[in-house]
Each structure stands twice: as structure tokens, then as C-alpha cells.
Symmetry: C2
Subunit: 425 residues, 2 copies
Amino acid sequence: MKTLAEEIGPSNRPVEEVARRARTTSAALAMLSTECKNAVLLDLARQIDAGAETVRAANERDLAAAREAGLADAKLRRLALTDAGLKQMSDGLRQVAALPDPVGQVTREYVSPAGLAVRRVRCPLGVILMIYEARPNVTVDAIALCFKAGNACILKGGREARRTNEALAALAGDALAAAGVSRDAVALLSTSDREEIRRMLGLRGWIDLAIPRGGRELIEFVHEHARIPTVQHFQGVCHIFVDESADLARALDVCATAKTSAPAACNAVETILVHERIAAAFVPRLAERLARDGVEVRGDAAVCRLAPSARPAAAGDFGREFLDLVVALAVVRDVDAAIEHIARFGSNHTEAILTESSDHQRRFVERVTSSCVLVNASTRFNDGYQLGLGAEIGISTSKIHAYGVMGLEELTTQRYVVRGDWQTR
Amino acid sequence: MKTLAEEIGPSNRPVEEVARRARTTSAALAMLSTECKNAVLLDLARQIDAGAETVRAANERDLAAAREAGLADAKLRRLALTDAGLKQMSDGLRQVAALPDPVGQVTREYVSPAGLAVRRVRCPLGVILMIYEARPNVTVDAIALCFKAGNACILKGGREARRTNEALAALAGDALAAAGVSRDAVALLSTSDREEIRRMLGLRGWIDLAIPRGGRELIEFVHEHARIPTVQHFQGVCHIFVDESADLARALDVCATAKTSAPAACNAVETILVHERIAAAFVPRLAERLARDGVEVRGDAAVCRLAPSARPAAAGDFGREFLDLVVALAVVRDVDAAIEHIARFGSNHTEAILTESSDHQRRFVERVTSSCVLVNASTRFNDGYQLGLGAEIGISTSKIHAYGVMGLEELTTQRYVVRGDWQTR
């Protein structure tokens, strides 16, 4: 039997119609009260806590199809919706409900030289198109953040999670409808037809922002076809540079856990650079620790001499997002060589320096212009919750609009509201 | 004889080489001291005040060529560089020098849950490409703002002003060189070859932001070909709605001067909407005043009945940026009809309501989401100086990154700098 979402889902409509409905609804969404928006989010959280049987059943069918298609174990694990995963979704919804409503916030207020009362006010962007490949919980995070920021959203998730995402979007539609909000506030594109996505990316004037979040192929497809504004959430090729003055025991912990705590996260370390003066002392210990933690090390020539367990790095291993228990490891001459390496191979996401030298800290922080640069801390702290911003829709590697962690505020824009006393000019 | 700029200008280099040089220089520009940046701006201002003979001579040649090509008088006036125009340029440079340096500004500072010292810090975007059609003074404003914000800029001005722009860029290059800064910080594309511009717009990773500023054809060309982030400065189809409760004598002044004070400015009013209850009293007076001020009125049927001097509006006159002493004038049922008209014909630039009704003020301000919405004041106040922000590079009609007036801050981005105490995660 087909689910409701499959019967009447937006996939049965042309993409232009989906966008037109989202655009039409967005004007009303911009004026929803905070109470109404929070009620929808909390209702959806309750539905998920109450069992979400339609979602579980849909996920079972996605998993069965994925197993049949021979999907790798790691991908199956990402697709599978556990009790903990559902709990994380409803917790996320409650957290977004608890965040301050950005819409209507006055960010600046002053009287202009001509005596005008000027206010800069946050307002929704309008319609947000999100194209992603990640786990189904991203679907719920995106719905929650876009809606709370007063935007209509059009979501295009990964093909393998299609049924799960449809069931989640249908639950969201029920919560919207129960609060008297149009179901068009959340649209899920079930199509995987590239031609349809391409047409969607051309709907200038209907869609205010496209957020592609994923790997190189997805990002390149979007850049090639988008005629609408785009902020990319591209890969995190994150580096840690271990300087000569680093506390080696603590550096060992920072480096190893920056990979092992979440090997596939975008803020996990992918390349570790070690100052040549401490290489003989540090590289063998680090290689041993990583091996013990199940991490494969791909080293440059100097590393392979110092740690025979390391596998020689192939061309392309530096600058690569492994998304797995693998790191690249290289010895560099000094902090400047590390900065140069990052300029060449980094992805503007997250980099860290481990050092006691305040000179080198300053130099690294000034010259490495990634969205987040850390001193003596793990790259894994570049995350909305860890930085204290609450939920995030991802981490932007585009410099414009929002660079780095993108939360509620970054899903809005600001306009000027000016009150005069019949001033002419 | 060729000018120096014509001999060795960037136009003789492939656009890829221009972008590569700008990218290479941008790392150093990001670290320039405020003193050094201001010294360059003030030096350039002094050179312009000292006579700027090369610029005047180049402008003469542009004017001669334009006259030969049969350019309209209005365009010739925009192209001609007067003493007052040169004074405006040097004043603008001094004003930008006096503005606070946005680079390095800390916009947020706090301790994260894990005890990390988090700072959000402004940094340059990197390389900005600006494509525009306007007067030569935009060239100097763009150079000043991009440079003060720590960016390299690549400018593509209008074809008719080519020699003038080259002479201005050469002066800027001299000021940069005198301060020990690479001339590559400012590049002027002298080419008008569409294929070269198209290639420039494809240089993803080399150019961080393209700002097209101009009419429909330019904007569409950029949207079609850009593979780099873009914030458009498109036309201002600005509306004033005169509500039933407006003070008619003062409304007359606001409406008329909003066109006559600068007919070709993007914040000049293009369409005036009048509430039907006051149409009989107001439309004839407004039509008479506008006629007296030399403004042609194109009216809908109701207007033409009330003011026989009005010419019937053609299809397309509503929603049109006349850039001249012409306005469209229509009678509408009420504030909601005015809001609908603006939603249909507006360009997200600037709209005003003239009314004593606080209900209608609120309704208009809530529902019209243009970059600047004014109550009882002229649309002409949507301007960097008038809003107290200082110099502007233009007014963005893109919602992302910077919506509305775009000044120094909007030419930067923000990143996170995080200092830890060896926290792992």
C-alpha cells in the first residue's frame, strides 16, 4: 500500500507548481506569530515521540530497498532510523522551539541625519531550497529551522531515504495543518530526476536561496545549473597543525578524537600536519595511537620513515575528505609551511593549530581564513551546539551571506524600516 | 598617443591572469593596517584634487568618442566629469578613509559551553568583481570601499567611460604603489568582449563575489553566466502610496521631489499610487505640480479622467524604471490594493506610504518586504549617506548577504576564531 505522501506528495506536481505554492505561502509565513510556529514544532515533536509508526515503516522499506541495491554497511547505518535517532529528532524540534524567534528582531535602531527613525529589522528570506544527501534527521532539522525563521522550504533529500523523508514531511504537514498553516510551507521533492532539479534551480524570483549540502558532484551540479542565489555547504577538509611547542600528550588526544569521535562528520580532522622539529618524537606515538583507535594513516615520505605502519599517501589523499576512519599525515617545515599547505588543500571549513607559541597562534589565526580557526582545541567544536548557537542547518563554506555555522539567524535577511515626519529630498 | 593605462592596462592580460593576480594579492590586503589603507585613499584624493589632468584628458576623449557615436544628451551629461564631479570623488575618498575599518572588528565574543573563548570576527571577502554601467565616480567609490574592506577588486565599467576609468584606475595604482601595496589590488577590465566577461564570471574559487549593478540586460547576462556568488544591484522601481489620510499638501512635496531631485537615481519614485477616496482632490493637484516641475505623467484610466494633462499609461509603464522625468500614476482601492500592486510590479528596492493611519502604516510595513520601506518620507532617503552608513557601493535587491544599502561592512564576511585549553571532542 502506498503511504499518503506517496499518493498526494509534491512529487506528483511539476516543480514549478511546488515553487509557486511555496512562494505564495511564504508571505503568510513571514507574519506567523512565534507561538504558532512553536506550536507546530512541538506538535511534530510529540508525534515523533508517540511512535511515528509511518516513519518507522517507511524507513524499513527504504532499508530493504537499500539492502537489495547492495548499499554499503556504513551507508545502511546512516540510513537506519533508531529509537535514539527519533529521540534526537524530537529533541532537536524542542530546542528550535526554545530558540528566540529571529523574525522582527531589531538589530540596529537610530535617528538619521535628516531626523528619520531608522530600524534594521530581521525578516525571512522567503523560499529556501535545500538539496542534501545526508541522514533523515537533516530533513527534520531543515524543516524546523526554515519554518521557525519564517521561510517556506522545499527539500530534496537523498534518493535512498526517499520514503523515510516523505513520511517525515507528511507528519510535518499534519502539524502545520493542525495549526491552520498551509501544508505548502514544507514541500518535499521526491523526484530524483536531474532535469526537474535543474528546472527548480532556474526558478529565479521564486526561490530566494538554494543550499546544496553534500559532496563534489552535488555541489558542481548546483553551481552549473543554479540561476538562484546559492550558499554551499561543501566538504570539510579539516586540518590540525601540531606545532613544535605543542603539549604532545594532549595533542595526541586532540588529534585522535578529532577523527574517531565522528569519522564521517564534516568537522572531523582529515589531515594532520606535524612540525619537523617534533616529528621524530610525535609521529610514531600518533601513528601508534591512531592504529590502536582503528584509524588508517596515510603518510608522506617523512611520516612513512618514522612510522612504518603508515601507508604511503596517494596523490589526492591530501585535500581529501575521507568521511571514514582514515587520516592523511604529513611533516611540514614550520607554521608558514602549514599555512601554505592549508591554503592549497583546505576547503575553508575548519582548521586548528596546537601550540604554546602566541606568535604562531596569531600568525595562524591571521593567515588561515577558514570559517572557523581554532587554537588548542579540536576541529570538532565547529558545530552550532558546541559554539552555543543552537541547531544548525549546516556549515557554509561560501563566504557570502553566512560563512561557517548556519543557524536560525542565517536563514533570515535584514531590511530597513524608516519612519519620517514628511521629509522630502 | 596611448595613455599609460592603455599601454600596460590589465585589458592586455587574459582575464584568468587578472583574477589570479587579484587572488594572490588578496591575502596581503587582508592584513594591511588601517593606517596604510587610509594613506592610499587620502593620497588618491590629493591626486584628484591636484588637477587629475590625465583623468580630465581621458574624459575629453571619451566625450568626443561618445558625441561621434551619437550618444543622447542625458548620457553625455552623465559621462562628463565636471570640477564638482572630481570634488565629489575626492570627498568620497576622504569619507571612506574616515570610516571605521571593518576588518578585524569583533562582532560577538563569548565563552562556549565547553569553555572555549569564541569570537566572531569580520574579515574581507577576498576578490570582488564589480560590473556596472554608471558614471565614472562609481569607479572611485568601488575602489575606495573594496580596498578599505581589505578586498582586491576587479572593475568592469561602462564602455563609454573606458578611458576615464582607466585614467582613474591608473591614479589608484600609483597611490597603491607609493604605499608599497601591489597594483594588483585594483584591476580594471577594459575589455567589452562578452566572451571574456563570461569567462571571468566562471572563475569559481578565484572571485568571491560578483556585484552586477545596472539594467535588465546586464543583470540577465550575469545570472545566465555566473558560476560565482552574486549579489545584484538591480533596478529601483520605487513606489509611493498616498493613503486617504495623508496630508495632501505635504504629500505633494514628497511625491514631486522624490522624482525631480534626481530623476535617474535608483531610489527616485517611478510609480505613485493614490487612494481612490482622495483621488478627486489629489490627482489633479499632483498632475499640475508634476507638469510644472517638468515631469511627464502616465496615468491609468482613472487618473486620465481626473487629470486630462496625463498621458495614458502604456502596457509596461507600471513596473518600469524610467530613469527620467516621467512617473506612472494610478488610483487604487485601498492600502491592500497598493500592497498587491507593489508585490506585482515592485523590484524589492524602496517603497513609501504617506498616511496618518498607524494601522495602515503597520500593515504596509509588515507586508511590503522591500529592502527599505518608509513611512511619511521620500524614497530618496534609501541611500548610504542619508541612512547614516557613509559611502555605499550600491543598493542590493538580492535578499542574501546584503539586502538594501551595501556599505563597507557588507563587503566583508565573518568567521569564528576560537581559543581553547586543549579541549578534545
